[in-house]
Amino acid sequence: MNIVVLVKQVPDSGSERGLAGDNTVERQSANNVINEMDEYAIEEALRIQAAEGGEVTILTMGPERAAESIRKALSMGPDKAVHVIDDALHGSCALSTSKVLAAALGTLNPDLVIAGAESTDGRVQVMPHMIAERLGIAALTGARKLTVDGGTLTIERQTEEGYEVVTAATPAVVSVWDTINEPRYPSFKGIMAAKKKPVQTLALADLGIEAGEVGFAGASSEVVEHAKRPPRQGGQKVADDGNGGAALVEFLSSEKFV
């Protein structure tokens, strides 16, 4: 089975993050890591490869620094990677990002595309759906379990109440949550081997996309303003003068907690 895993480099959610002067995510000075959910996608792909055979390819769109995350991803075990890199991509919205990724996937002809259900920077959660739509294939999103049976994919889609079983034929896009598996650590041998694995770089011209269709020029949405989240407000203290219980109930019901 030919599997492609979408991997995005994001600023480490554990450190200070911010937006640059042009209201895009600050990537230059940030401590960048693989989007955490993508590690689960890689793990799932490697498990399927171990059972079904085939090849696992990492696909990343991002600036030069994203190459670090590609190496990290490869050190977990995938066979090769494709890095879409082009200055004109800066400022791309979700729609144009999906156009680029779909075009790159077109060159790879995958049976299965696996992605993390969201990235910790943008958190829009739409990329798997958009890509599937552009490629005209099924989108199985929000999986907490994935089984492969020949050309049939079945997922358990995690919902707030429980899960739904959804089935589709390959090729398809599957997005996964962090409940699906426990990602492996890159092995020592994997780290040493990652350097030798092929990483193909593609520019927009290689994908037949004009610079004006993507980046700031082609963006369908734009961040015009941003502000820090306001500091948390101090809570309301209720002194218990014998009617503490009643006051508590009153507070909870006024806030519609009960």
Partner: protein, 390 residues
């Protein structure tokens, strides 16, 4: 000049860091709780389980040759990993290691001692120090007397790390009184505990403690000589010299973690209506700590790099050990001062570091022995001022 790490070095360090964060650090509070109750912070079975988890992705035997299943890492990578380990006070280390001098064993001995030690099935200890012979190791008095094909060992060893748990000891004893201990007069033996030596726990200011080993006419078969008869002291010096860049590498991790705690405390704790961090006295302690920490880091990495170049690393390693051990004691002292009374309690790991790190200035070559080596090299003209850049 390029001070950056290679992609592989970064990746190996990242994996070690993630493992320590996910698997080891969650045990930290439990380690403190147990130690407050005078129990071992981490039981051997727990250590082995963690080591097994790391082995599953190939982190096993940092210094062990590949033919024994190890990683055989360059010294710089080992140094980086030990710094990561040092960031947690959980007494964890990766498995698959054995005393470097066990590799001098013959094939039968390797099967009996080396391989099971690497696999964690046996525990070794190395015994050269005696009540009357520490830094002056050539003063050892333990005797090894030939009796037919056997040797009979009599005497006492002390401050032996792992001596309480070991099931065999690598013991250096005087095998020929007529020769200098350093040149042919001493021999190293592989001695099973079942051959009759006994150990006694020595309480120390640190957690856990070494042992004294008593040998009372312990009979050792001739086949248990490690290396050659007469080679004991030379092997002993190899054993001692090996860890000199590892110990301060670990200390750098300790200092990093402790300093981070101090910075966070200084930024949050308020006294007299402002945070501690606004006081110049605190700022200077933080500045000095970071400066010394970085100075130590680069001395240590240079020593490790020297090892990797295959050149004589003794001088560089001595400076790294001397300065790294001193640095971590000074940094922890300041971090304790910044934390005030809280730093003195056993709720935080700081007082623990304060006690544990003191050992670093004493064992595996005291500060004074390192200074002796460093100055002797210079005074006798063995080493140029400026090291490899001279």
């Amino acid at each position: 000049m390029d001070f950056s790490l290679s992609d592989e070095e970064k990746a190996v360090r990242e994996t070690a860091r993630t493992f320590i964060r996910k698997e080891v650090m969650p045990l930290e509070q439990e380690v403190l709780r147990r130690e407050r109750a005078h129990e071992p912070g981490l039981r051997l079975d727990e250590l082995r389980e963690l080591q097994g988890k790391a082995r599953a992705f190939g982190f096993w035997g940092l210094a062990t040759p590949e033919e024994y299943g190890g990683m055989d890492l360059p010294a710089v990578m080992q140094s980086l990993i030990w710094t990561e380990i040092g960031r947690s006070w959980v007494p964890f280390r990766f498995g698959g290691e054995a005393d470097n001098i066990l590799f001098f064993a013959n094939e039968e001995q390797k099967a009996e001692f080396l391989v099971p030690t690497i696999e964690g099935e046996r525990i070794s200890c190395f015994a050269i120090t005696e009540p009357g012979a520490g830094s002056d190791a050539a003063n050892i008095r333990m005797t090894a007397r030939r009796d037919g094909d056997d040797w009979v060992l009599d005497g006492e060893k002390t401050f032996i790390t792992n001596g309480n748990d070991a099931d065999f000891a690598i013991v250096v004893a005087v095998s020929d009184r007529d020769q200098d201990v350093r040149a042919g007069g001493s021999t190293a033996f592989l001695v099973d505990r079942s051959m009759g030596w006994r150990s006694e726990f020595i309480p120390t200011m640190g957690e856990g403690g070494p042992a004294s080993l008593v040998f009372d006419s312990v009979r050792v078969p001739g086949r248990n000589v490690l290396g050659e008869v007469g080679q004991g002291f030379a092997l002993g010096m190899q054993w001692i010299g090996k860890g000199r860049y590892i110990i301060p590498s670990h200390a750098v991790g300790v200092a990093e973690r402790a300093l981070r705690m101090a910075i966070e405390h200084a930024n949050t704790r308020e006294t007299f209506g402002k945070t501690l961090s606004t006081n110049q006295a605190i700022q200077w302690m933080i500045a000095d700590s970071e400066t010394e920490l970085e100075a130590a880091r680069w001395l240590i990495l240079r020593a490790a790099w020297t090892v990797d170049q295959g050149t004589d690393a003794r001088h560089a390693s001595s400076m790294a050990k001397l300065y790294g051990a001193r640095m971590v004691n000074d940094v922890v002292d300041r971090v304790l001062q910044i934390h005030g009374g809280m730093g003195y309690t056993r709720e935080l790991p700081i007082e623990r570091w304060y006690r544990q790190m003191r050992l670093l200035r004493i064992f595996e070559g005291t500060d004074e022995m390192q200074r002796l080596i460093i100055s002797r090299d210079l005074l006798r003209g063995y080493t140029e001022i400026g090291g490899h850049l001279a």
